[in-house]
């Protein structure tokens, strides 16, 4: 048995070395963002376009999930926030939850643009696992567990390894990337008719909101990632603020834990007016009218907070 294990270990040594080298291979960022256009309605390609390909500046960036994608009209926000100078606002939301996704978008944003402010979405659902697309887009540095370990770290390494291996293979064989590889190509929030929105009085409490010890653990996980985000922004002289974007059926008052994000920057909590049924496309996402309302309100709040004007 010992001899067998020794021989197997020796035999696998070259492969272990190669695997280590592959994990150290850093694929081009723009290639990674372009690799999964089927996921989240080409948001990856959009991020690649505005951060890497476009020469236009980004002054205000909105980061978050599909709530942000549907809730923030970036051109309107740019116009409303521009007073003395022209400001360009860009919606960099990416479907589904996970604070690490905000970090990797932000890292690329700060390296290529000089935003004055990033507005990050907060919501009731604090995810203590990774964003499903995180390992596919993460840089080598971001693949490291960092200051908080979660259940997906081993799987993230594995998927990160496969992403790098696939990149190497594609360049060896001159293969165009397979656009449907990630397996996360379908999400159906656009499919729900408005009639499916339940009445407010019949709404259920959010299913995934935990309580007690678990809730604190989830919040501290999320908080740890936001600490990294905040440190990164500070290093690039960029301000951070938060907007609370609940789903239609969720209470408008965020749980107390979320307010601790106020340590890093102002937390904007929308008025109850947002709960008008005609503002919603489905239970989770605003329609044009709703996003117009939210964007206008948010820009007023940002202007009133003077966060864009105060010095560092």
């Amino acid at each position: 048995m010992r001899k067998f294990c020794r021989h197997i270990a020796l035999f696998l040594l070259p492969f272990t070395t190669v695997a280590f080298l592959i994990l150290n291979f850093e694929p081009e960022r723009v290639t990674l963002w372009n690799s999964y256009p089927d996921d989240c309605d080409t948001r990856g390609q959009w991020i690649a376009e505005v951060i890497f390909n476009s020469t236009e500046p980004i002054d205000v960036a909105f980061l978050g999930s599909s709530h942000t994608i549907n809730g923030i009209q970036d051109s309107l926000a740019g116009a409303l926030l521009s007073s003395n100078e022209n400001l360009r606002a860009v919606n960099l939301g990416y479907c589904r939850f996970g604070p690490e996704m905000n970090l990797i978008v932000l890292r690329d944003l700060l390296e290529h643009k000089k935003p004055k402010l990033v507005v990050i979405e907060l919501n009731e659902t604090v995810i203590s696992s990774s964003h499903p697309m995180y390992p596919y887009y993460a840089s080598n540095e971001d693949l490291m567990p960092g200051n908080y370990f979660n259940q997906n770290v081993p799987a993230n390494f594995y998927h990160g390894f496969l992403t790098r291996l696939t990149e190497i293979r594609n360049s060896c064989f001159d293969i165009a990337p397979d656009r449907k590889m990630s397996g996360y190509s379908r999400f159906g929030y656009r499919g729900y008719p408005s009639g499916n929105i339940p009445d407010l009085h019949t709404r259920n409490q959010p299913k995934f909101v935990s309580s007690g010890f678990l809730r604190n653990a989830e919040l501290s996980y999320s908080f740890a990632w936001h600490e990294r985000i905040n440190a990164l922004c500070n290093a690039h002289n960029c301000k951070v603020s938060y907007v609370y974007l609940p789903a239609f059926h969720e209470e408008i008052h965020p749980l107390e834990g979320l307010l601790q994000f106020g340590k890093f920057g102002p937390v904007f909590i929308p008025a109850k007016d947002l709960k008008q049924r005609n503002f919603w496309r489905d239970q989770d996402h605003l329609n044009d009218e709703g996003s117009n309302f939210l964007t206008t309100w948010l820009c007023e709040e940002i202007t009133n907070s003077k966060i864009l004007k105060t010095g560092n």
């Binding site: 001899k3 035999f11 070259p14 594995y158 696939t166 060896c172 064989f173 293969i175 590889m181 397996g183």
Partner: protein, 473 residues
């Protein structure tokens, strides 16, 4: 837990290490580890189905003991019926309820009546056809006196839950397997190396050939309405290669994995595409299942010992049931019947004529590939489209349109095709008894291992790899 998943890559070495860690091995410890690991392996899909597995196999365990302790033939028969009823009820409910309900409603509506019905949202427990058949073979063998009832529960449950063969076979026969769980397994270096070599070949077949070829087959069947003749032929060929490399790859991994734990599983494939008749094909393809149907369906029906009419009837019933075993769909039933009819014609007419070997092989392969179209089609409509394009063309999808993604690289295509041909060449030499890997110099073997692993890493499909085809049965 899939054999081609990261979870299994971590699970297998861990179980292997725990299994062989102790110098002084005991039978109960080994069997207990097999049971626990089997439960984890199976429960990884859906822990609820573990209860189902334990329930049905538990009934069989008790029934077998009662059969062996019973002197009355009538009582034995009743006990056997209890076992058959419990296993087939569970199998029938989970696998066939919606199929028969839908078929009944369609039939009724065909006659102009209106039928209200509700099909249930039934999730098919993975591998249910395999472990049910394995458990059934045990009680039937005990009833027939071919094997003795096991009174030690861990031994019996180790036989049922042994993870390498739990979800997609080979369907272990109690006569062959249970004695292996009744004695302490001893670790041997050579056996383990042979096991790893088998697993490597299995992964090479699955990850490099089957998974890559599946994109061509999937694309062809997805576009079945609009294929040109050559595309339809390529799609059918691709699926024939995919299913063989997928399932025989799975069986190689299962056998190799079992060897790592000192257990020998039966050979499930013996180069089926070299068969020169359909009868021979079934002696080489999914052997454990073919033998199961032969021993527990065909022979009890009377086999070929009665009149010509009855032999034909038995043959067709056996293949019909075999088709249905594969899946709850009429296309599978048709696939089974087609093979049954082909064997009937072969026995009645063709085998009596002396034919050229190459011609026989080509005709057999033609029938088998055509039958795979039935097997792969998801509905009769798709089947109709596919066959009409197969013979008449008329679509727009050219072969080049099927070759997308990895298949757009000439180098990639050459390497995958080369590996596929090398495996067939290896099988051909094995068929001719001209090659035995154990007799090759060590440096050649080690070089092969390195090349094979590199090929799997460079050419395999990793991002959302297709599952094993036979897992759905």
């Amino acid at each position: 837990m899939l054999f081609n998943s990261i979870a299994f890559a971590l699970f297998l070495p861990l179980v292997f290490f725990i299994y062989w860690k102790k110098r002084n091995q005991t039978l109960s410890r080994q069997n207990l580890i097999i049971i626990i690991s089997g439960c984890i392996f199976y429960g990884w899909w859906d822990i609820r189905f573990l209860g189902l597995l334990v329930l049905t196999s538990g009934i069989d365990f008790a029934v077998a003991i009662l059969i062996s302790g019973s002197a009355s033939e009538r009582r034995k028969r009743i006990l056997l019926l209890i076992s058959l009823f419990s296993n087939l009820t569970v199998l029938g409910f989970f696998k066939y309820f919606n199929f028969f309900a839908d078929s009944f409603v369609h039939l009724v509506e065909h006659f102009g009546w209106k039928a209200d019905y509700a099909t249930l949202n039934i999730v098919l427990p993975v591998g249910i056809s395999f472990y049910t058949f394995q458990a059934l073979s045990y009680t039937i063998d005990v009833y027939k006196g071919k094997t003795v009832a096991v009174r030690n529960a861990p031994t019996y449950f180790a036989y049922i839950t042994f993870f390498p063969q739990l979800v997609a076979g080979p369907i272990g026969r109690s006569v062959h397997l249970i004695p292996q769980f009744l004695r302490v397994r001893i670790f041997t270096y050579d056996n383990s190396i042979t096991g790893l070599r088998l697993m490597l070949l299995g992964y090479l077949k699955k990850c490099v050939v089957a998974d890559n070829v599946s994109t061509i087959a999937d694309s062809a069947f997805f576009n079945s309405e609009s294929l040109v003749v050559s595309s339809a032929i390529i799609g059918a060929l691709a699926f024939s290669i995919q299913i063989y490399f997928d399932f025989s790859g799975y069986s190689d991994i299962a056998r190799g994995c079992a060897k790592l734990f000192g257990v020998d599983l039966m050979v499930n494939f013996r180069r089926p595409y070299f068969a020169k008749s359909i009868t021979e094909f079934w002696q080489r393809w999914h052997i454990s299942m073919s033998q199961w149907f032969r021993d527990y369906v065909y022979i009890p029906l009377g086999g070929n010992q009665e009149s010509n009419f009855k032999t034909t009837r038995n043959l067709l019933i056996t293949f019909l049931v075999s088709g249905l075993w594969h899946g709850a769909s009429w296309t599978f039933v048709l696939w089974g019947i087609l093979h049954g009819v082909a064997i009937f014609i072969e026995r009645q007419f063709i085998l009596k004529i002396k034919m050229n070997v190459v011609f026989s092989w080509a005709v057999t392969l033609f029938i088998v590939i055509n039958a795979w179209v039935l097997f792969r089609a998801e509905s009769f409509l798709q089947l109709r489209h596919y066959y009409s394009n197969f013979f008449t063309g008329g679509g727009k999808i050219m072969p080049a349109d099927l070759l997308t993604g990895n298949w757009s690289s000439v180098l990639f295509v050459s390497l995958v095709t080369g590996i596929c041909l090398l495996i067939f060449a290896y099988e051909y030499l094995e068929e001719q008894d001209k090659f035995n890997p154990d007799n090759t110099p060590k440096w050649i073997r080690i070089s092969y291992y390195y090349v094979a692993i590199t090929a799997i890493l460079l050419l395999g499909v990793y991002q959302s790899p297709p599952s094993f085809i036979y897992f759905q049965f």
